[in-house]
Subunit: 138 residues, 4 copies
């Protein structure tokens, strides 16, 4: 069991009706995607053709920041607010989709973009699955 899943399991109160498995999957996907995007931004920066990758660096950085913030918000259950959770998940899904699309466009040329795009797609899906669970918006 991952540390994120263990932390959910040991939370002393209830989780506001969220599915613990979908929640754990989403928290893990967010932090994994944040890590991948931080590394991908730097790998792009080290490519000789960096001038053609500046949009990728930028979207990587936005996605890293949003995934990290989303992972943090989803790791807090005290005083749970479904409206805020929905807005954050939606912004995260949009950032992941934008980053995945950008990274996929040069995944053949750059292995780091291929790995990063996969992490972004997993995170986008996990955010959308949790949004479905929450109802409304999405």
């Amino acid at each position: 069991m991952t540390v994120a899943a263990q932390m959910l399991q040991t939370y002393p109160k209830d989780l506001g009706g969220l599915d613990p498995e979908k929640l754990a999957t989403c928290v893990e996907a967010c932090f994994e995607c944040a890590a991948a995007c931080t590394a991908c931004a730097d790998a792009c920066l080290s490519e000789d053709m960096v001038a053609e990758l500046t949009t990728c660096v930028r979207v990587n950085q936005d996605c890293a920041d949003l995934c990290e913030t989303t992972g943090r918000v989803l790791s807090r259950h005290t005083g749970y607010d479904p409206d805020l959770t929905r807005c954050v998940l939606l912004a995260c899904a949009v950032a992941c989709k934008a980053c995945a699309t950008e990274c996929e466009s040069h995944a053949r040329a750059h292995e780091h973009c291929r790995v990063c795009a996969e992490a972004c797609r997993r995170c986008e899906q996990a955010c959308r699955a949790l949004l479905d669970d929450l109802g409304g918006v999405s």
Copy 2:
């Protein structure tokens, strides 16, 4: 002139049609609100009646993370993406409103909550002003 405004003024390319003044105001409001919320969470934690302030601590932390991420996203102009900007601004405005409402509810008892609520309201307004500028949320 603030450092945020100076950084906007020295950006070498154009700003994607965003109003530089509203943008500077919003960036500053985001970072100021993030700082206020981080401090307010800790001030609540030090109150003797902390057990009654746990929701405030939580919403402070969410708001700090979202404001910081929003301030960062708004500080990047390369490869500007209006859809992502809109979603992030909306999530930030929702977080600021939730935190302002919570802090206002005990602003009389706790000066730090009063100061923090004001920073949250300023940030919420700045995000909404920039959203208006960007046109309809998709």
Copy 3:
């Protein structure tokens, strides 16, 4: 192979002489510890005896922020600076040790503190192993 390890393997230039395995272990430990500490702070906040856990919440938050920043710094290899890396690793190890010590002191009463303390100890060790690799702190 984890995403962090894959990102290291696909980095297009060299890694400044750092051992890729120790580096991957440390990056993963930092992000795992950041996640554990964020969740532990919130779990403490939800305990009925929160008034006795405020130091734990605080040190959890510091440790989360430091581990995340350290994980980010270690995920960037372009323009590698060993002096900065050393200082950051040292600050992270100190934060992890402080958080582990605090969490261990009530690990019997709170399962989340036990899980978090273990993540902190793993991260502290990973930081120290990488510091050894880097040679004397200047």
Copy 4:
């Protein structure tokens, strides 16, 4: 009075013997420097000669992350730990110095680097002033 100073003034307990003015100056300098570095990284990314500025982008990002974490740690007073504060301040001062040095080396060519270098120097000085106050290490 800035929001950071107001938050310090409304903190309900004592500040562990730290000088409130030096503390407020340092918190503000950290958050200002984080904002400047985030913007400078993106401004460098938008320059036609980005390939010559990749080290600057990287050190900007490290400095932004460290300043933000340091500003957060310094905004928390509950359960104050002077050893951790010292290590964090030292790492932040080292990051600010590295970033200032890099930015100064092309401050004539790029106005954003000039503004950013000044923010880094202010933050480095504020961290060192607080370290002096704390005694030991430094």
